[in-house]
Symmetry: C2
Subunit: 417 residues, 2 copies
């Protein structure tokens, strides 16, 4: 994907409102934001000029891939050679000097990311530059200074362009194919890790649809383990599923750097869930609808949280909904501090183009947990659900999704060879 | 796994030889080194005292897992709450103050990792603290200073204890189960991504054997794509395998933070490889043996590279072996700068306990590539191959592995339902 004109404009406006001579970053997510290319090894330097030009110094092994996904100007370099022991940090100095010289950037503040935050992985092993962008710029010019643009970058990342939203919607659709596999893979007598493996395998086969690089991380948490999903991370264990269990399937899928965060909860091999399970299902569906109805530009994010929370409190599940209703997702995978924070104390205001998850849930310690997590974009006309399982075209823009819109699903045994 | 006494001793010795008051790190790999626990979300602070005590401030959601894998002292904290908007970096300040106060550490240099490097991922989204460990320590005490201990940490990580080598050997064995699946999954008419998905699924099911957390990343590169594997990263595409193709399967597996790097090359559905393929096979097997024969404590790493390279040059494949013979693996997954660097210009000396890969390869542009990558430990008696496919117990310590020790494999069609 080329860096689209709306994204370019948003960065140029940010640069004009600030005193920054340029933006530069060595972090993969920020490189994606500034150039449209998601680096594999995280060894690429993005530089975005006040004139709206996007440059990227990339490892030569990534050049072909980079050019396929963006029309920024790519300058290849060799992070390693047989002739000399070097490192990406050292090898970047000369091409960075040449680029800054060509751009006549010899003084001023260059905005970059220096604060702590979360990063979503592009590969199993990636470069971390820590704060060495500071010394890199210092080695380029004595009058150049790396300054924190963390707040500006967080706001830029929070609002997506229509092209970016389409990428996220597409990555969400990939995940849903995994969930179809889930409804087959979940059966009494199977282990959580077997179920998760089946789903990831099914996903892997279609992960490249429309993307140069795609992957899906699927987790299966069943019975009492599904209550532990209240924690900050998902974890597949070796527990054997039993009939009537809640089986929570959590997914983070990614296509070319655009991430999703989606959860569905299944009931294992029963025609009729228990009364308690039905009560949980109804409460979560109602909380989801209440939250989605609030979504609109100008609305406070904490009102969205309050709407979902009030429903769950009214149903007697206040203490069992122990986390915020959502957070920004798209450039981030699972970062509770990505904007907008749909948290009781959030000062954030929703804007058109923001993408986030809505994840009402009930976790009953020792018994089971149920969560329904959707990917949502804030559009001028309200919530645009990017992760509808049914894939009916119209449903996506209907503000009220109905009180029983697939909050959970019955899984039936599949015969396996 | 508890932090073993040999590891503890090695850190204590390093601290005594330096002017450091302690070691501290927020980076997952360094936390594993200093505490024996591999953090999920990378939001844990490890502190190792001159007295040899190991402390770790962990998110409360990780406490149970941490205690299962290490007997360091774990201090839980809340990186996020519903009552207040906060961040891990902010939430860590108070418990860090309390810990340093308890340890009476109020002044001096604290060694940490500040340089650029590579990091292997524990989860799909993890915290990055960049250089904020500097401000964290400054907030703890005005006379405390974070200083770079990058060189010390790199050397500590390069030499593993017997217990750590056993973990890496076990992670290697996990990978080999994936390769057995590969010999079934590879067939003419199947796509690279289908093959890779099958292997990962098979792996996933056994990934937890003996580990709390395990995963495997498998890549399939066939025909001309296998020649592109000379690059710095592996990439599965959608190419359809053809009879007679070289099909390279690359794996990085991990168990509780201990990584492997293993490659095997198959020939798709033929009884007799071409003469050229047999020539490549023979040259790689010979280069592997030559490299392994060199491995011993006190040997220069570049002699190991030279031994493999000389064989491939003699067979006319000098230009086609375009990367170093190996690099450190274990705490790192795929970091060409991890010690020891088995590179023509390396100044590194092999020590007993070092673990690395040996990856002789031949890449013929546009035609195909063949690589055989093993995990190896340097023992007092020579090379200890951690990734033998045959799993015969004795073979592992035999210096000469035979000239035809499975450098590649014939894959036969498997019927799939």
């Amino acid at each position: 994907m080329a860096i689209d004109s709306l994204r370019r404009n948003s960065i140029v406006e940010t640069l004009k409102r600030s005193d920054l001579a340029a933006m530069a970053s060595l972090s993969a997510t920020e490189v994606l934001l500034l150039t449209g290319y998601w680096p594999v090894l995280g060894q690429s330097l993005a530089v975005f000029s006040r004139e709206g030009e996007s440059y990227c110094i990339v490892p030569e092994d990534e050049l072909e891939l980079a050019k396929k996904t963006s029309d920024a100007e790519f300058i290849p370099y060799k992070p390693a050679t047989l002739e000399k022991l070097t490192s990406p940090a050292a090898a970047l100095i000369q091409p960075t000097r040449e680029l800054f010289s060509r751009l006549k950037l010899s003084s001023g503040d260059v905005g970059t990311d220096l604060d702590a935050g979360m990063t979503a992985m592009a590969y199993q092993s990636v470069s971390r530059f820590r704060a060495t962008v500071v010394s890199l710029l210092a080695s380029v010019g004595a009058d150049l200074r790396a300054v924190s643009a963390d707040g500006l970058l967080a706001r830029l990342k929070s609002v997506k362009t229509p092209i970016e939203i389409d990428r996220i919607r597409h990555a969400s659709k990939l995940a849903l194919k995994g969930f179809k596999e889930a409804s087959e893979a979940i059966a009494a007598g199977r282990r959580e890790d077997e179920v998760a493996a089946d789903i990831e395998a099914a996903f892997s086969c279609i992960a490249h649809d429309g993307f140069e690089r795609g992957r899906g991380y699927f987790f299966c948490m069943s019975g009492p383990n599904s209550a532990k999903a209240a924690g900050a991370y998902a974890r597949t264990r070796r527990r054997v599923l039993e009939q009537g269990d809640l089986a929570m399937i959590h997914a983070n899928t990614v296509g070319d750097g655009y991430w999703t965060d989606i959860t569905r909860t299944f009931v294992v091999e029963v025609k009729r869930p228990t009364q308690q399970q039905q009560h949980m299902e109804g409460a979560i569906a109602e909380a989801r609808s209440a939250a989605l109805r609030q979504v609109a530009p100008g609305i406070q994010a904490r009102e969205v949280d309050a709407a979902a929370r009030a429903v769950l409190v009214r149903h007697g599940f206040g203490a069992e909904f122990s986390h915020p209703t959502g957070h920004g997702v798209g450039f981030a995978a699972a970062d509770p501090n990505a904007l907008p924070r749909i948290h009781p104390k959030s000062p954030d205001i929703l804007k058109a183009g923001m993408t986030f998850n809505i994840e009402p849930a009930i976790y009953c310690d020792g018994i089971g947990g149920m969560r329904h997590c959707d990917m949502v974009a804030c559009s001028a006309s309200g919530a645009d659900v990017l992760s509808n399982l049914t894939e009916t075209l119209n449903e996506a823009r209907v503000p009220d999704y109905g009180s029983r819109a697939e909050p959970f699903h019955r899984a039936h045994r599949r015969t396996r060879g």
